[in-house]
């Protein structure tokens, strides 16, 4: 029997606003606990929410970026459940009238080539605080700095067919959201979180099996791993004559196992109803259209344009657009006169590895363009230019003078070199005599003199 895996993802991203969703507290990460709190996000008696305009704008742009239909009227509702890090005993979220429905994410599946995964909905909500279990022995400690942070929840259709495909979807989605300026999308900081719904069925079947929900994955790699583990577990259950139960599971990345967190019987009855504190959110069509028009160029479009404009391969365009900052850097190099075909190697090599290690861009696009020029003119070999680049990253100076200082200038014309050497030797008979007498360190002096001529 061959089993097909069916995967849908719910992704929560924190919106890149200055203040929280419904109050004026700062939306920041890493502050001392309970220092960014106010009557609203503490759920104090008498406090009331007012939605943040920028959160609505970022959510709308994210929905546009995913090709969703943005609804003229959406409604904030109360999702009722008790949890120590949920101050009001309900989360303000959107339920039956979300900000946006529909849309898709297009990407290369590792198995199926180009695929489109549908987006069911994008809605806005507030984050909960954090419960920490290792701060106070035997107790749970609650930090409400995150409570009330603005979130967009993006729900995909059950359209993915392998753990690797789920991962590729996440990479593509994150890229779109970062291009759109929606969120920092950092799983480490918790500004991007993934819940997975997964079921299995026989290949060819059209109905869905019983799904389980996986939580607590802290990286895209672990999402893929957790899906592998859960796939094996579900197959094992069914093949041994048992049934899959609708449960929520926690993934333990250390042991590589899943553990039941909550069964269906214990599942929540959230008692959603429209939040009477917040009238419907009504967006004017021309405002919604303006958000589409002012959306930054998205990865898909950028790849197409880069290929056309700079004659890049699909592979290069893909690599270059992984991070919008790198793509922007490349274009700046090109604008500064750096030959595109020659710059691409630099950008995808030295520049990108430094950037990925968190060093930013120590060599300005203009300086890299100059280095590319020096290499093109044959002044410095491709090999030597790497050392020049390293030095440029550390210190100021144009590539030519750095190459000279390091003695990396190559002279293509050996006759010229021979002539310069003869001239230098002839001009410094005393030094030549001392060198011949054993003072070998004078070789540096001669090289310097030759280089002066070559410069």
């Amino acid at each position: 029997m061959t089993w097909e895996i069916v995967i849908g993802l719910e992704v929560h991203v924190q919106l890149a606003t200055r203040s929280k969703m419904f109050c004026g507290c700062a939306n920041v990460y890493g502050a001392p606990p309970n220092t960014h709190v106010c009557p609203v996000c503490l759920g104090l008696p008498g406090a009331l929410p007012v939605p943040n305009a920028e959160a609505i704008r970022l959510g709308t742009q994210a929905a546009h970026a995913l090709g969703g239909t943005i609804h003229r009227t959406s409604v904030f509702a109360r999702k009722n459940y008790f949890y120590p890090d949920l101050p009001k005993g309900y989360q303000i979220s959107q339920f039956d009238k979300p900000l946006s429905t529909g849309g898709a994410v297009h990407f290369e599946s590792p198995e199926r080539g180009r695929v489109a995964v549908s987006i069911t909905r994008l809605h806005l909500e507030e984050d909960a605080g954090k419960s920490l279990h290792d701060r106070v022995p035997g107790k749970t400690a609650v930090d409400l700095n995150r409570a009330g942070a603005p979130l967009a929840e993006i729900v995909s259709g059950p359209d993915m067919r392998s753990p690797g495909e789920a991962r590729a979807y996440l990479v593509a989605l994150k890229q779109i959201l970062m291009y759109a300026g929606t969120s920092e999308c950092s799983m480490e900081k918790g500004s991007l979180r993934v819940d997975v719904n997964m079921s299995i069925r026989q290949h060819g079947e059209t109905t869905l099996g019983v799904k389980t929900e996986l939580k607590n994955m802290n990286s895209f790699a672990n999402v893929e791993r957790a899906l592998d583990v859960e796939f094996e577990r579900q197959v094992g259950l069914i093949e041994s004559g048992k049934a899959v139960e609708q449960v929520s599971l926690l993934f333990n990345a250390v042991s590589g196992t899943v553990k039941v967190m909550r069964s269906k019987e214990e599942s929540h009855d959230y008692r959603y109803f429209p939040d009477p504190d917040i009238p419907p959110l009504v967006l004017a069509p021309d405002w919604v259209e303006k958000q589409r028009a002012t959306l930054p160029e998205l990865p898909e479009a950028k790849r197409g344009r880069l290929m056309a404009q700079y004659a890049l391969s699909a592979y290069h365009a893909h690599e270059l657009t992984l991070d919008v900052a790198v793509a922007d850097y490349f274009e700046a190099v090109a604008r500064a006169g750096g030959d595109a075909a020659k710059s691409i190697g630099w950008v995808l090599g030295e520049v990108m590895s430094g950037f990925n290690e968190g060093h930013g861009f120590p060599v300005s696009p203009a300086r890299l363009a100059a280095l590319v020029g020096v290499v093109r003119d044959g002044l410095v070999s491709q090999q030597a230019a790497k050392r020049v680049y390293e030095e440029m990253a550390r210190n100021d100076g144009d590539p030519k003078s750095i190459a000279e200082r390091l003695g990396l200038v190559q002279v293509g014309d050996s006759n010229a070199l021979g002539k310069w050497v003869e001239e230098v030797l002839a001009a410094h008979p005393g030094e030549l005599a001392r060198y011949r007498g054993g003072e070998t360190k004078l070789i540096g002096f001669f090289v310097g003199q030759v280089m002066k001529k070559s410069g």
Binding site: G24, C25, H36, A53, A55, H133, V136, P276, P280
Partner: protein, 99 residues
Amino acid sequence: MSIGREEVVHVAKLAELAVSEAELPRLVDQLSRIVDFVAELNEVPADDSVPPFQAGAETTPLRADVVAPIPLARGPAQMAPAFIDGFFVVPRLGAMEES
């Protein structure tokens, strides 16, 4: 009786309200009376064309994205029944312990 003992126990659990065995019969009685009373509305015809009521402003105003929290005259430490090292503290949670 439109609402029975089991439903009252279930609803009390959802609402996180301790209800003792001793008070349950009387509570079931009173809640049934209330629920029967409000169920009177079921007799009123109102099809889907009647939109639900909306109180107050018709559309929500939005707040500018400015950091300006309402100040607290007394901080969390002074309000909380248990507060250690800057955290609100509660008894251990069962299900989420490993996260």
